[in-house]
């Protein structure tokens, strides 16, 4: 187990290095001159001379060869120093640290909502298989999986904020602020997960051990909850990696719409403002989070189904 985790983390290192190199290459070939932009930004009169630009270029180290820049940046990153933001003149690491909690709060709330909604919906659809609740849920999940997050966000705003006046639409001042953005994030994955759980449950309830449990006098729901749910969860958990990826992506758009002060908003602002050190840092951070998340998902199979754990241990 420990060796497996270690091996997975070691494999991730060259991948993340490649990712940072890819972004570094893109940045250094991007149209526009960051030194000039930075010089203009510092000088409010907007009259910057060639010499000013060159001074800034030297100051931020862009006059050095590409390889030197990359190696220096990498050396800093290893020590936790991701450089200084062009836009904010704070350190990149500090800014990410300041915002990570807000994004985590949003993503965790959404994940909790997905599980809290998808499990009962999937159970209901399987229980009333081919009856009206199943049909209604089929249509809902079909639509829910197809509606783009940015459209859904505005539908939620119109319904819950403009019309009903129940929930705040922007910022993170109140606790209730998290509700709408988390809902906007949760709908799509909930649609897919409840559908997966339904089909997985339908598969499981024809198994012998469920019939045994039923014949011992347990009701349908009792038998499924006690004996079926855990087995039915395995294919759902395999999908969880995709859900987490979708949450990371969704956070970007949803944070922009709801003015949520997290990493997604920071990402869009940094890209629009060509804040290269910040983009680099955010990409490295997001890549690391993604790798670790996928590893945790893979490890969780073992908790649900010990047979998988044995195989993983053997394969290392």
């Amino acid at each position: 187990m420990g060796r497996y985790v270690l091996r997975r983390l070691l494999i991730a290192i060259p991948t993340l290095l490649g990712l940072s190199l890819l972004i570094f290459t893109l940045v250094s070939n991007a149209p526009g001159d960051p030194a000039e932009e930075l010089a203009r930004r510092r000088d409010s009169r907007n009259e910057v001379s060639r010499a000013d630009i060159e001074r800034v270029r030297h100051e931020i180290g862009l006059d050095r060869p590409f390889v030197t820049q990359y190696v220096d940046w990498l050396g800093g990153a290893v020590h936790g120093d991701l450089g200084t933001s062009f836009l904010r003149s704070t350190s990149v690491g500090h800014e990410i640290g300041k915002r990570v909690l807000a994004s985590a709060q949003l993503a965790v709330t959404a994940l909790a909502a997905i599980l809290l909604l998808a499990v009962p919906l999937g159970l209901a659809a399987a229980m009333y298989h081919r009856h009206w609740p199943d049909h209604v849920l089929r249509v809902l999940s079909l639509v829910g999986a197809s509606v783009p997050g940015f459209f859904l966000s505005y539908l939620l705003i119109i319904l819950f904020a403009t019309r009903l006046g129940l929930l705040p639409v922007a910022g993170r001042e109140e606790l209730a602020s998290v509700v709408l953005p988390a809902m906007a994030l949760a709908v799509g994955p909930t649609a897919v997960v409840s559908r997966l759980l339904r089909s997985s449950l339908l598969e499981v309830i024809s198994e012998d051990y469920i019939r045994t449990a039923r014949s011992k006098g347990l009701g349908w729901l009792g038998a499924v909850l006690r004996h079926g749910l855990r087995n039915a969860a395995v294919p759902v958990v395999t999908y969880l990696g995709t859900v987490l990826g979708a949450l990371l992506e969704g956070v970007v758009i949803v944070e922009v719409i709801f003015a949520w002060p997290g990493l997604g908003q920071l990402t869009v602002q940094s890209i629009s403002g060509r804040d290269y050190p910040m983009i680099q840092g955010l990409v490295l951070f997001a890549g690391t989070v993604y790798v670790v998340m996928n590893l945790l998902v893979d490890l969780s199979y073992g908790l649900l189904d010990p047979r998988i754990r044995v195989e993983a241990a053997r394969s290392t």
């Binding site: 490649g18 990712l19 999940s141 990402t267 629009s272």
Partner: protein, 315 residues
């Protein structure tokens, strides 16, 4: 929503063209047919937009801003008095055009690199798959955002970005399928008969990948449309006044209270098209693999599986 890996887990096993019955089964699949019809109609409407649209999509008329739907403006007018119906139609050209172009690009690049990785030994395989890993180390939309942000706005850059961030999924799947097909007897026979490797790839391996890749790209058309319109929505796509669904939605958000219908038209257009692509793709997947045990985001599998099982138990 679905990962390519989940979608086509079993596709490499076999794609056996089954002739008539397959086609009949697809035609009987009501939701798949509905999806396909909507997709075809919308693509036709997009192609014929210059003739179908009643107005110039960029012509402003400040006299009739935020007009309600009427005979002359079937969907009303927007904040600059432009005809919303014409804008939606012309928007379909861009939005759907980019989705189709992006999907074709991804398929071509993904199939080529997947085939090379699967057929041409160690070095090429290691190189391609490690590069694919790098691209898969970030969720695609985030990578796309960074890439398009750095490349700069515009139609061409948007399509390049979509292809750049999505090919690794295809390359992985195609490589996996290639490795399986490569071991089949007919490939062995061709090799024994002295057929060149290039000819084996072109005549014996590639044709077996067509079916699964068509399914994959139909299912992905919806995802690509979502990605393209999402990037446009964030302001990294097409610049105004050109109508594009994501950008139209972004324009409409300021008038949320005054004219929510301006959000609804492009929003519903995107939703309907993603829905149509998903339905058609699910139907196609059923054709290739009638014994699917993985429902995925499919909506009809349960029925088929039981039918298949009943069939097995009677034989």
């Amino acid at each position: 929503m679905s990962t390519p890996e989940v979608t086509l887990r079993q596709a490499g096993d076999a794609f056996v063209p089954q002739g008539q019955p397959v086609l009949r089964r697809f035609v009987r699949d009501a939701s798949a047919m509905a999806g396909l019809s909507i997709a075809v109609l919308a693509l036709l409407a997009a192609l014929l937009a210059p003739w179908l649209a009643t107005r110039d999509p960029t012509a402003t008329n400040f006299g009739s801003r935020f007009a309600s739907p009427s005979r002359s403006h079937p969907m009303g007018t927007d904040n600059l008095g432009r005809d919303e119906f014409s804008r939606i139609l012309h928007g379909a050209r861009l939005s759907l055009g980019m989705a189709v172009a992006g999907t074709v690009g991804i398929s071509v690049v993904g199939i080529t690199l997947g085939l090379v990785a699967g057929m041409y030994g160690r070095l090429a395989e290691t190189l391609i798959m490690r590069v694919a890993d790098v691209f898969l180390a970030l969720p695609t939309l985030i990578l796309a955002l960074v890439v398009v942000g750095l490349l700069g706005q515009g139609l061409r850059n948007l399509i390049i970005t979509i292809v750049l961030v999505q090919w690794p999924g295809y390359a992985r799947i195609v490589r996996g399928m290639t490795l399986k097909v490569r071991e089949r007897d007919f490939v062995e026979a061709a090799r024994a008969a002295g057929t060149s490797r290039l000819r084996i790839v072109a005549r014996h391996v590639a044709p077996n990948l067509v079916g699964p890749v068509v399914v994959l790209s139909t299912l992905d058309m919806g995802r690509v449309l979502l990605a393209v319109s999402g990037l446009s929505f964030l302001g990294f796509g097409i610049s105004p006044p050109t109508p594009e669904w994501g950008a139209m939605l972004a324009d409409a958000k300021i008038y949320l209270d005054r004219a929510p219908q301006l959000l609804a038209w492009p929003g519903l257009s995107i939703t309907t098209m993603v829905l149509a692509f998903n339905l058609a793709g699910d139907g196609l997947r059923d054709l290739l693999d009638p014994h699917t045990t993985d429902d995925g985001p499919g909506w009809q599998k349960g029925r088929r599986r039981r039918r298949a099982r009943a069939h097995l138990s009677t034989t």
